[in-house]
């Protein structure tokens, strides 16, 4: 009976321990497979739609890439020139802009991406879209939609929709539904086609194109054709081979996928790190429980190396088992996520791309981490003396508490030091290394502090009767075990504490930033992916009877001193609506074509008022600008401020990104109604008071934080498994004692309460220490960002309290199984067990 029970216990322990690794490995595999799949899906798509193209002609960006330094659009005449180049079979000019579609009920059509509005290509082969239903729009009030969007909003041919662009609102009829290549949509974007002439009207491109696609007759290579075309282009345009162009498109998606991969892998590493604590703990308990057996082995002549080998052998088995299960689970996870993402992004690929490396790396990492984690308990086990076979309750050669304190203190200090170095400008990977050392050190130190801390946290619980008291006593009885079990939870909650401190600080700083940089009563801006609204809206707002003063805000990028800097244009007379603090010179100078420059940048470059500097504008190229003034830090203004006239001369954009308005005294409500009336046609425009604007920014921070919490919940889950594992082993170890307690009158309910109390105390210990560490780390991080606008330290008191309660609940959940097991124990068997 006893051997059967121990065999079962062993299997259970093996399974629970492997679970600690399974989750992390699965997450990592999932991240790898998913990102490989997404990359492959988009590579295929871009290759497909570029298949028949040989060369593309695009505006020559004045600096950087096309998104930074959008150049002068291509004149219509160039299309004719290109078409006449020998070797060109077909060429099509295209216009592309951002818009917003309204459905039949006037509601905004939203999706995972922006709404891209363009014109169809006449040449069938050059067209990236394939019409599934209806035909291309030919009149100004006609549009065609991608199939994914049509499905999503349940649109059919003949439906009446509205299209909003910076040029205003157009009522339109759906005449066609198309696919993008073979995909229903492009990465979740809403695709709209309008006639070429209409596209040029809508996006201020009359007589101009954003791009020319060229198909060769087939007797030239892409490079040869490109060079021929390049020879006839105006200096503002440049030719690229379609291959290079597709690669650039893939790359920009690849960059996004790369961030996704790094982010998810980070969470997977955290999960594995937490899992490693559980491995250490399980193997430590194992070695303790097996001390007599190990001593006997040594007495029978097994060498230390052999004992170590046997323990590490088991860890290899656990590691491989967990990693294989994890990899399998991860592929499954990626499959499910890919399906979900596929329907979300409208991509058609349903089979995940499983590269060998995506399996090998998590497999090896999971196994290696398991074995490394088992190394210390293994060495401890190998130090068991043959004499231990004859003694009882001998824990092997564990580090003494004092020694633990010294090692822990040094490790913690080293971790903290690395962390600080990383925050004060050191390389970013040091941040991770510092955190790892810090947590390892703290877990060692926690063993010293466990007893007093448990006593302190347990004070309210000790009043709940004998069962609660016994549970507390159990939590105190082996501080090392308690500490390392709590440590697993500590890590998860430290990260939660850090993130919530950071988020609270960002939220707190938002108020300050907005108070500093927005002085207007109302903030008018577009929502979602819309870039802005037509300048006519701002003009109408300015003319409203209840409006006092107002200014549009336009933004762009310029190149200066070798870097790309943001430039903001506004109405000179109303610079104070942006809360501008001019420390030298004056705002008025921008009317004369001068610019204002940010204080910090001026200091860095050694610029003074009246000095002239060389800049490059995206559209118009190099220019010399005179500095008319210097302003104090303003998050909305960016680095440079110019007049609207200067902006319009030098940028292709024709939209206002924000309008700031002040009401005449006491007429704010009235102004609001009036602004609403002006923007009635365009539901993409939001009208917000300063407080609403702040609230929205804060709620965006909250949303982002919640996503991170969900991902961190994984590591908490692993920690819970660790508590289950430890408690289950402890219950097994205390069989005799449980039997005694039951014999002298402890009810099953009390047994469960005893186990639960221990679990709750351990998890609250991990939770409180973790949150304290997290708040400290978060605060350090926030302090290092003081120059980036996050200069207020927020303490998320409510969330911290909630997190402690959450930790306690995690303990209750973790105790369910061990408590049940303990309560169901056969009393007679327990007291007669040898």
């Amino acid at each position: 009976m006893a051997t059967l029970a121990s065999l079962f216990a062993r299997k259970l322990r093996l399974a629970l321990t492997a679970t600690a690794i399974v989750i992390g490995v699965a997450f990592m595999t999932g991240a790898f497979v998913l990102s490989d799949t997404l990359t492959a899906t988009f590579d295929d798509l871009f290759q497909e739609v570029n298949e028949s193209k040989d060369v593309v002609v695009v505006p020559r960006p004045a600096f950087g890439d096309a998104t930074e330094g959008t150049g002068e659009p291509i004149p219509e005449a160039t299309l004719g020139t290109v078409r006449r180049v020998p070797g060109v079979a077909a060429a099509e000019g295209s216009v592309l802009g951002l818009g917003q579609l309204l459905d039949e009920k006037g509601k905004q059509v939203t999706g995972a991406g922006p709404t891209l509005v363009g014109n169809p290509a006449e040449d069938e082969q050059l067209s990236t879209t394939t019409y599934a239903q209806g035909e291309r729009p030919t009149k100004a009030d006609q549009v065609a939609l991608d199939k994914g969007t049509a499905k999503r909003i349940d649109a059919t041919l003949g439906d009446r929709l509205a299209l909003i662009t910076p040029n205003g609102r157009v009522e339109v009829i759906v005449t066609g539904i198309f696919t993008f290549g073979s995909s229903n949509s492009l990465a979740g974007a809403t695709l709209v086609e309008v006639p070429t002439r209409q596209a040029q009207e809508l996006f201020d491109r009359v007589g101009l194109y954003d791009q020319i696609d060229v198909r060769g007759s087939g007797d030239l290579t892409q490079e040869q054709l490109r060079d021929r075309i390049a020879a006839v282009l105006p200096p503002t345009a440049q030719a690229e081979t379609a291959e290079d162009n597709a690669a650039a498109q893939s790359e920009s998606v690849g960059e996004f996928v790369g961030y996704l991969r790094i982010g998810l892998t980070g969470f997977a590493l955290v999960a594995l790190f937490v899992g490693s604590f559980i491995i250490v703990n399980t193997f430590s308990i194992l070695v303790t429980q097996r001390t007599r057996e190990l001593g006997l082995l040594r007495a029978l002549g097994a060498s230390r190396r052999q004992v170590l080998g046997s323990i590490l052998g088991e860890s290899v088995a656990v590691g491989i088992l967990g990693s294989v299960l994890g990899v399998a689970g991860g592929v499954g996870l990626a499959f499910v996520l890919n399906l979900a993402l596929g329907s979300f992004l409208g991509s058609s690929s349903a089979t995940p791309v499983v590269k060998p490396l995506a399996l090998a790396v998590p497999l090896v990492l999971g196994t290696v981490i398991t074995v490394l984690a088992a190394l210390y308990p293994g060495i401890r086990g190998s130090r068991v003396t043959p004499l231990a076979a004859m003694r009882e309750d001998e824990g092997g050669g564990d580090l003494g508490l004092a020694k633990r304190g010294i090692v822990g203190g040094i490790t913690t200090a080293a971790g903290a030091a690395l962390f600080v170095v990383a925050l004060t400008g050191g390389p970013a990977p040091l941040l991770g290394a510092g955190a790892v050392l810090l947590f390892v050190g703290l877990s060692l130190l926690l063993a010293l502090a466990a007893r007093p801390l448990v006593a302190a946290f347990g004070l309210p619980l000790s009043r709940t009767g004998a069962a609660g008291k016994l549970g507390l006593a159990n939590a105190k009885r082996n501080p090392r075990r308690t500490a390392s079990t709590a440590s697993a939870l500590m890590i998860g909650l430290a990260l939660i504490g850090g993130v919530s401190t950071f988020a609270a600080s960002v939220s707190a700083s938002i108020s300050e930033v907005i108070d500093r940089s927005v002085r207007a009563d109302l903030v008018v801006q577009p929502n979602g992916f819309s870039p802005g609204f037509g300048t006519d809206i701002t003009d109408q707002i300015a003319a409203l009877p209840a409006a006092d003063r107002s200014t549009p805000i336009r933004t762009g990028e310029i190149q200066v001193a070798g870097g790309t800097k943001s430039l903001t244009a506004l109405d000179a007379a109303d610079g104070d609506l942006l809360g501008l603090q001019v420390t030298a010179g004056s705002v008025g100078t921008i009317l004369g074509g001068q610019v204002l420059v940010d204080e910090d940048l001026a200091k860095e470059q050694g610029w003074r008022v009246d000095q002239s500097i060389d800049v490059v504008f995206a559209r118009t190229g190099p220019a010399r600008l005179r500095i008319g003034g210097i302003f104090g830090k303003n998050e909305l203004a960016g680095s440079f401020i110019s007049s609207l006239a200067t902006y319009d001369r030098n940028f292709t954009s024709n939209v206002d990104t924000v309008a700031l308005v002040n009401a005449k005294p006491g007429r704010l409500a009235e102004l609001r109604t009036q602004v609403r009336a002006v923007t009635q046609d365009n539901p993409t425009i939001k009208v917000q008071t300063r407080n609403e604007f702040q609230d929205e920014l804060r709620s965006q921070v909250d949303t982002a934080t919640q996503v991170v919490y969900v991902l961190l919940a994984l590591s908490v889950l692993i920690a819970v498994i660790g508590i289950i594992n430890t408690l289950a082993l402890s219950v097994l170890e205390r069989t005799r004692e449980l039997g005694l307690l039951r014999a002298v009158g402890m009810q099953r309910k009390q047994v469960r309460r005893m186990v639960r109390t221990e679990a709750v105390v351990v998890s609250v210990l991990g939770g409180v220490v973790g949150l304290a560490v997290g708040v400290a780390l978060g605060a350090a991080f926030v302090l290092s960002l003081a120059d980036d606008g996050i200069d207020k330290l927020g303490l998320p008191v409510g969330q911290l309290i909630a997190a402690v309660i959450f930790a306690g609940l995690a303990g209750v959940v973790a105790a369910l199984y061990p408590a049940r097991k303990a309560a169901k124990m056969d009393v007679l068997r327990a007291i007669t067990v040898e």
Partner: protein
């Protein structure tokens, strides 16, 4: 030495006050009855344990003495028959009721592992009362604690006590709740002869001076000689009683049993 009290289902006829526990045709079979592998540990045992008496149960190993003790104490259940403690039929009780009975009406002394290592000696002694959420009877507790003469060691944890001291703490715990009956399973089995004698003398005093009822399983005639009466078991049956035993009379009786 005549057998003076015959086992009888009429136990209650002696009066409830005179009997602390009794069994009626108590039978315990391990395995399935009637099959080859079935082992009959108790076979129709009907007996009674007088209140205020110290009874020793003896018998060769495999005679069923531990099984009888476990069934009497509500730690194990009978296959058939009944066990009564303080007039209550154990076979009709739920686990919760049995647990409560053990806590409130029964005292236990095991051979080893009697104490909870995380509790002090005193906490161990009052453990059943704590589990019940009761304050122990102070005057009685003082009396018991003084009798086991632990003095300054009351605040010590079990691992700071010698084996003999640990067993005395266990005795104090068994008696602290003023139970109807105390069950002791080889209480001196792990002790040296001096500690053993001390412990048994203490149990004797608990009966004589404090009026407690003790049922003790032992295989040691010297230990059994401390009892008022010895109950002999063999092959799961009661094979005789011996009142006012001495080590010699027990030995000769055991020789007669072939144990």
């Amino acid at each position: 030495m005549a057998t003076t009290v015959h086992p009888s289902p009429a136990g209650p006829a002696l009066g409830r006050d005179a009997v602390a526990a009794w069994t009626v045709a108590a039978t315990k079979v391990y395995g399935t009855y009637g099959q080859d592998n079935a082992v009959i540990a108790l076979d129709q045992v009907s007996t009674a344990f007088g209140r205020g008496r110290f009874t020793a149960i003896m018998g060769p190993s495999g005679s069923g003495k531990s099984t009888l003790l476990h069934c009497l104490a509500g730690l194990d259940s009978l296959t058939s028959g009944q066990v009564f403690i303080a007039g209550q039929d154990l076979s009709k009780m739920s686990d919760k009721q049995l647990t409560q009975l053990r806590r409130d009406r029964i005292g236990f002394i095991f051979q080893a592992y009697n104490l909870v290592p995380t509790l002090t000696a005193l906490e161990n002694i009052v453990l059943p009362a704590s589990l019940a959420g009761r304050k122990p009877d102070k005057a009685w507790l003082d009396q018991v604690v003084e009798a086991v003469s632990l003095g300054p060691r009351l605040s010590h944890k079990p691992n700071q006590l010698s084996g003999g001291q640990q067993q005395r703490v266990a005795c104090a715990r068994a008696l602290a709740g003023r139970p109807d009956i105390v069950f002791a399973d080889e209480p001196s089995g792990n002790l040296d002869s001096r500690s053993s004698a001390e412990l048994l003398a203490f149990l004797r005093r608990a009966v004589t001076e404090l009026g407690q009822t003790i049922v003790m399983v032992t295989h040691d005639p010297t230990a059994a000689a401390y009892a008022d009466r010895v109950l002999f078991l063999a092959d799961g049956r009661v094979v005789g009683y011996l009142d006012d035993p001495t080590a010699e009379t027990i030995l000769s009786r055991m020789a007669g049993l072939g144990g």
